[in-house]
Each structure stands twice: as structure tokens, then as C-alpha cells.
Symmetry: C2
Subunit: 343 residues, 2 copies
């Protein structure tokens, strides 16, 4: 524990009898420093095991090289994969990320934002909690002039960069797929309408039914918080109907799993009696029996693009910063739970 003080540029300067300014410039390969000096500085830096003090340079330069990432939960393949890709892109550019979880709670999300602002992050990349309706905390970020990028769960009203998939179109793909399988009464257990992505999925569902001349039955369209538990509850509700659906499209994989459990407990054949489609392509959808058809959201791509959107800001492409709404195409992964021909 003989924690002798860390070496600073001052120490290097003393050894070489030059100024700290020269050392600083040498370490940053300033063109006005001779090659010999640079080499000497770097050699001594290595010898003394010099590690730059990030806080000092951050303070001086007015930027921390930290980016805050807010997700509803890390414990989901989608979000952890997005995070991993954000990290990969930003690390290359010298940024570190601070990951925080809102746990789907609005209060926790606000605290989290305060914490990140306090930590002087250079930007925030976020996906909103389910609960979040009031956007004033996000406005706070904007008003401080800190770049804000939203992905997956974001609101149009905020007028910031957004990366996500085409939820409206995804619903079309799913409904089309189910109709191809011969389904005629397709139910939708959707997310909260106030969240854009879930609203888009609902609109897509409704319009796709219209497109294929299927009637829209209000009983078959249910709002849910999309947890496993609520998926069970909403599936039970559907089973009590006089005219049961022959397919259920659930806007989240966890809730889809809940629905699957209920169907199995009631000895209903999947997909022949009722076909099932989830959303998100969580790994467990390929693990359960039957495997669940789902939508792949390209989490890797979303993470990379979100990071790049932030970098675009920092590179000062402010001139005529146009709002980037990047919408990726989703992919339907057909599995046993909706593959009627094969089963």
C-alpha cells in the first residue's frame, strides 16, 4: 500500500528539463514539437508509468469523454446487445460509457438523468422507461446543450435523433405471415399506446387487417405492460371470449412467453389451434417448446448507429444539424409457434 504519488507531466518535465507545456504537446503529437523531444517524452512517460489524469484534462477541455446510456433494464438481450455495440463504437473514439438502468420506473429515470448530468457526461443515449410520459427531464438535457440520442423507446415530440426499427411495417409483416398460415381471427396484445413504438405496432396491426379485409374486433386488441405476468393475464382474458382468436400477436417476447404458458396449461395446440408471434427475438424464444416466432430488431445496428449519431454531434456537424430519424427494417424469424404447415 505504499501508494507513492501518481506521476504527472510535471515529473516528466523535470526529468527532461523542459516545460510541462512541451510535455503535454509531445504526448499529443503536436506538430510544433521536434521528433526527438516527442520520443524522449514518451520514453520517460513509459518509464515512470505515466497515466494521464483524465479529470484534469476533462476539466481543462470542458469535456469528460463520458457518455451516459440509459436503458429500462440491462437484463434483456436486446438492450445488452445495443449497449455492447455503443460501447464498441465509442471506445474507439476515446469515450467511455456509463450505463444506468431505469428499471422501467419514471422516478428512477429522473434520478439517473440528474446523476449523469452531475457526472458531466458529454452526451446521453437513452431508451425510455415504460412509465415515462412527462418529458420535462429529457427537455432538461436538451436545454443544457448536451447531445441526446434516443433509440427504440423514444418520443417524436422531443425532436432529437432517434434510431429504431419500422414498427408499423413489422406489424404488417406479422399479420401477413399469420394470414398466409391460414389465420383469420388475429388478436394483438400490444404495449402502451402512449409509447410511440407500441402505438406504431398497434396502427400497423389495424391497417394490415384492413388491407386484407379482415374485420377489426375490439375484443382482440388489448393493451398490456408486456411483462410475462401480464402476458399470462391477457391471454387468459382472450381465452374467455365467445369467439376465440386463432392467432395472437404479442408486442413483446416476455409477454408472448406468458401467453404460451397459458395456452399450454389449457392444452391448446400451438400453432394449430392458436398460432403465436412475439416481438424482439430474445434468445429464449428459440429455447422454449414450441419455439416462438418473433421479430429481430437488429440491436447491433441500433447500437452502432446511436453511437455514430452522437459522434456526429461532437464532430460539430452542428451547422445545419438535421434530425436523424433512422428507421431500420425488421426481420421476421419464423419458428414453430406459428408454422402451421410444418407442424
Amino acid at each position: 500500500m505504499t501508494n507513492k504519488k501518481r506521476t504527472t507531466i510535471k515529473d516528466i518535465a523535470n526529468v527532461l528539463k523542459i516545460s510541462t507545456a512541451a510535455v503535454s504537446k509531445a504526448l499529443h503529437d503536436d506538430s510544433r514539437i521536434s521528433t526527438e523531444t516527442k520520443e524522449a517524452v514518451k520514453k520517460v512517460a513509459k518509464e515512470l508509468n505515466y497515466q494521464p489524469n483524465h479529470l484534469a484534462s476533462a476539466l481543462r477541455k470542458g469535456k469528460s469523454n463520458l457518455v451516459g446510456v440509459i436503458v429500462p433494464k440491462t437484463n434483456s438481450n436486446f438492450f445488452s446487445s445495443v449497449i455492447q455495440n455503443i460501447e464498441e463504437v465509442l471506445n474507439k473514439e476515446g469515450y467511455n460509457i456509463i450505463i444506468t438502468q431505469s428499471n422501467e420506473s419514471y422516478t428512477k429515470e429522473c434520478n439517473t438523468i440528474d446523476t449523469l448530468l452531475f457526472t458531466q457526461v458529454d452526451g446521453i443515449i437513452a431508451s425510455m422507461a415504460n412509465e415515462t410520459i412527462d418529458l420535462s427531464y429529457y427537455e432538461k438535457i436538451k436545454s443544457k446543450g448536451i447531445p441526446l440520442i434516443l433509440f427504440d423507446r423514444g418520443e417524436n415530440d422531443l425532436n432529437v435523433d432517434y434510431i429504431g426499427i419500422d414498427d408499423y411495417h413489422s406489424s404488417h409483416i406479422i399479420v401477413e405471415h399469420l394470414i398466409e398460415q391460414g389465420c383469420q381471427r388475429i388478436a394483438h396484445i400490444g404495449g402502451y399506446k402512449h409509447t410511440r413504438i407500441f402505438n406504431n405496432r398497434i396502427r400497423g396491426y389495424i391497417d394490415a387487417l384492413k388491407k386484407y379485409n379482415l374485420p377489426l374486433d375490439k375484443e382482440l386488441l388489448i393493451e398490456s405492460n408486456l411483462t410475462l405476468q401480464d402476458g399470462r393475464k391477457k391471454m387468459m382474458q382472450l381465452l374467455t371470449l365467445q369467439k376465440r382468436p386463432d392467432a395472437v400477436y404479442v408486442a413483446g417476447d416476455y409477454a408472448a412467453l406468458g401467453a404460451l404458458q397459458v395456452l399450454q396449461e389449457n392444452h391448446i395446440n400451438i400453432p394449430n389451434d392458436i398460432a403465436l408471434v412475439g416481438f424482439g427475438n430474445e434468445p429464449f424464444t428459440a429455447m422454449v417448446t414450441p419455439t416462438i416466432t418473433s421479430i429481430e430488431q437488429h440491436s447491433n445496428e441500433i447500437g452502432k448507429q446511436a453511437a455514430n449519431a452522437f459522434l456526429a454531434y461532437t464532430r460539430g456537424d452542428f451547422v445545419k444539424q438535421k434530425l436523424n430519424k433512422t428507421i431500420l427494417d425488421a426481420a421476421l424469424i419464423v419458428r414453430d409457434s406459428s408454422n402451421i404447415k410444418d407442424s
Copy 2:
């Protein structure tokens, strides 16, 4: 974007015609500042929407109030739950955490450590990557005098605080449970022997067999990286044996799931033909069919204790800092995959 400069204590000082030192002390409730001044300062601070510059105080105080957390992956219920609890405890004490993933890669882990040191974290709480054998990077943390706490995957040799469950005893509980179910040939798909926790599970397995006078069959003890894929592979290997096991204890849930899939594909009845036990109590173990018996590792408690161990250091209990090896008792969650009486 009229990003007018942030308010500093200087601004507050100017308004009240007092020194910045007085402002600083007032904000920290220094006993040598009058109540009136404190109130006035806080009032103005609020009016000007003052937010302390964390970098400046960190630089001055020589501590960043950031704690680095390194996990093999965030995408696992165990780790994300540990993280959540670390965060909860540390946030209360004014610390923020920087979460990084090693992705089970030794190289990534080293980078991650460099990054955290560069960011001037006040401490590091880590669980090691599967690959990690060389501990020199962890020694680096210690040599810088930065508190290091390990949990779950940690090595004794490092001589630092450690929080985990009693893996040796967990194996005993599992083997006892399987014997109670009538199993006589119990296989173990274990983790890498060089990782302490997996080694302990293996030793526990061997000793428990001995205790109950069951022979140790080398064929039934297999080393694995415990991914889903490798679980499949190792299960197939067990099925090729002349004398198949009647129970398989897998040291990780993902690998257990792989084993389960292979058993089902071969129409082997679980648990009657072969009983199955996993480790970690990942949520999906309760979701698949049949549900998988597993070991609950008390991730919440581990997270809390790890955070508290770090806090103990910062509180300067250095005087006679004794090594804290906290070992929690694990709990066996019996499910269908090993419940022979009921099935």
C-alpha cells in the same frame, strides 16, 4: 442551442458579494458558516440553477466518486441483478458506477481495466472472465492502491475481498437431492477447473459422491465452457457412453438448457430417465418445459455486500484491513427436471 455558460460558485459569490470559499463551504454545510449565509447561498444556487462541476471537485479532492464494475456479460439475470444492487447501495453514498463488460474475453477485460484506471475510478468491483488466468492486470489495480473487490468469479491468490456463495456446499446439496430422488449415476458437466468457483463445485461433487459411497466415474465428470452450445455437445458425449448416467448436474443454466434440448431431441424422459440440475437460477429455468431445478445464488445479497465491502475501504478502515471473504449459503430450487416423485 444558446448554451450560455454553466453557473459556477463564482457566479453565486458575485451575487452575494462573498468569496467562492464561503460559497463552497456553505454548500457543504460547513459549521463555520452562518445559517443566514448558507440559506442565501442555497437560494441563489437554486435560482441560478447551479450544478456542481463534478470534475473540478474530483480533481481537487483527488477522488472521482466513480466505481468501475466489470462483469463477463450484462445479459444474464445474475449479473444484471448484482449490478443493480451495487448501484443502489453506492448511489446512496454519492458514488456512480461505470459498468463494463469483458464478454468473457481476457483481452477485453484488460482493456476495460485500463479504461477504468484512466477514468480515475475510486474502486473496482469485478467478476472475472472465463478466459482469465493471468492475474497481472488485476495486480496492477492493487499496485495503484485502488480498492478491488471480487465477486462470484474471483481468485484466492489475489488476496482481495471476495463475495460469493458456497459452491462446494452447493454441489453437496445437489448431489444429496439427486440421491434422494433415487439417482445412482450422477454426471457433472462442470466449468473450467482453473476458475475457483467451478473448481469448488467439482470438488464438492466428488466429495459428495464419496460421502454417499457412490463410485466416481471419470467418464461422468466433464469440463465445459458452459455455453448453451457446449452444454449440448457435452450432453451428447454423455449419451454415447455404454453406461449412461441417470442424472446430470450442470454447473451453469445455459449449458443445462443445451443438455435439456439434447435429451428431448433424443426422446429421453426428464427426469425419469435422466434427471437434470442447473446452476444460477436464471429466469428461463422456470420458463422451459420441463422447468429446470437450479441453484439460487442470491445475486441481490452479493451485489449489496460487494458495494459495502468497497465502502468499508473508503471509510478508511485501513488500520487493520482484514480480508473479507464473504460466503453466502446457496438455495436449491427444485423444479420438474429433477422431481421424480411428482412426475
